[in-house]
């Protein structure tokens, strides 16, 4: 690669970084709007005490959660692009750092999934008790989103490239090794959670439905934590 090309790449990276500041600002505005909406919606039923107000506030909370979830996904994408541009400016990609940030990202997404899981369990209980409404159906289905994202990453044999617009590369052999171990642990956690859910379901059938998001979240969180732990162990020494 010639000197001019490297300089050109650095100049493009600088331009992208300055454009990204605006995107970060827009994301921050979205988060602020979602939080305000959530706070207002949570207080509205207390003030109004009407069933319509409660339904409206639940819809608003659900909408705010969807926005927050999308913001997290977009923020990760933006963060990845920012890292890639910083690496270009620093003179080359640090593969170790990229792998570590992927591991941390998985744990963050899985931890965020706990929030969605809590809503999913609550909604699942109401649906199983025949008192659920359309928002409960959305909450119950949406609770599978974060475990879905985490598990699809762990199951993938591709390594998500941080270069803007570039195609995913085949994963590093060590990354595949980590993912395999994470999957084994995840499978064990799933079996334990399923066994507990089965017993709970024998006691009360509604528990089997309401507890299903816990099984998915347990699988995702275990996989993410195991992956992160292996990555951390590989970093030292």
């Amino acid at each position: 690669m010639g000197r001019a090309t490297a300089e050109e790449m650095k100049s493009r990276a600088r331009a992208r970084l300055s454009r990204q500041r605006l995107e970060w600002g827009l994301l921050a505005c979205l988060v602020l709007a979602a939080v305000i909406l959530m706070v207002v919606a949570a207080r509205a039923p207390e003030a109004a005490r009407a069933p319509e107000a409660a339904l409206l506030s639940m819809t608003a909370v659900f909408f705010a959660l969807v926005v927050l979830g999308l913001v997290v996904v977009m923020a990760f994408d933006l963060w990845g692009k920012r890292q890639a541009d910083l690496e270009v400016l620093a003179g080359g990609p640090d593969k170790d750092q990229v792998q570590s940030s992927e591991a941390f990202g998985l744990v963050f997404l899985a931890a965020l999934g706990l929030l969605y899981m809590a809503f999913g369990v609550e909604a699942g209980w109401r649906i199983a008790s025949q008192t659920g409404d359309i928002d409960d159906w959305w909450s119950a289905i949406f609770s599978l989103a974060m475990p879905g994202v985490v598990m699809s990453t762990v199951l993938s044999d591709k390594f998500r490239t941080r270069q803007a617009g570039a195609l995913p590369k085949p994963a590093d052999e060590l990354v595949i090794h980590f993912r395999r171990h994470a999957l084994v642990w995840s499978f064990r956690a799933t079996l334990v959670a399923l066994a507990a859910l089965y017993v709970a379901g024998l006691y009360d059938g509604r528990l089997a439905v309401a507890g299903a998001p816990i099984v998915f979240e347990a699988a995702a969180l275990t996989a993410a934590l195991r992956y992160w732990w292996l990555d951390r162990a590989a970093s030292h020494g």
Partner: protein
């Protein structure tokens, strides 16, 4: 018959060549973590990665890895 044991001499060969883990990783186009985990016996590489490391260090494969009884 005893189980064969894998002897890994990557660290010895690398330090004898005066390379850091990062330098070897850059030469072999793998991550530093890959080199680290192989040296610490956490991870057993595929034939392709093993050959790549041997080539990067300029030694035959059986100098880096050996099966003993």
């Amino acid at each position: 018959m005893a189980e064969p044991r894998l002897v890994v001499r990557l660290k010895e060969v690398r330090t004898a060549a005066g390379l850091t883990q990062q330098e070897l990783a850059d030469r072999a186009r793998v991550s530093r973590k890959t080199v680290n985990t192989i040296e610490n016996r956490i991870f057993t590489p595929s034939v392709v990665v093993a050959l790549t490391l041997a080539k990067a260090l300029g030694v035959p494969l059986d100098v880096l890895f050996e099966l003993t009884d």
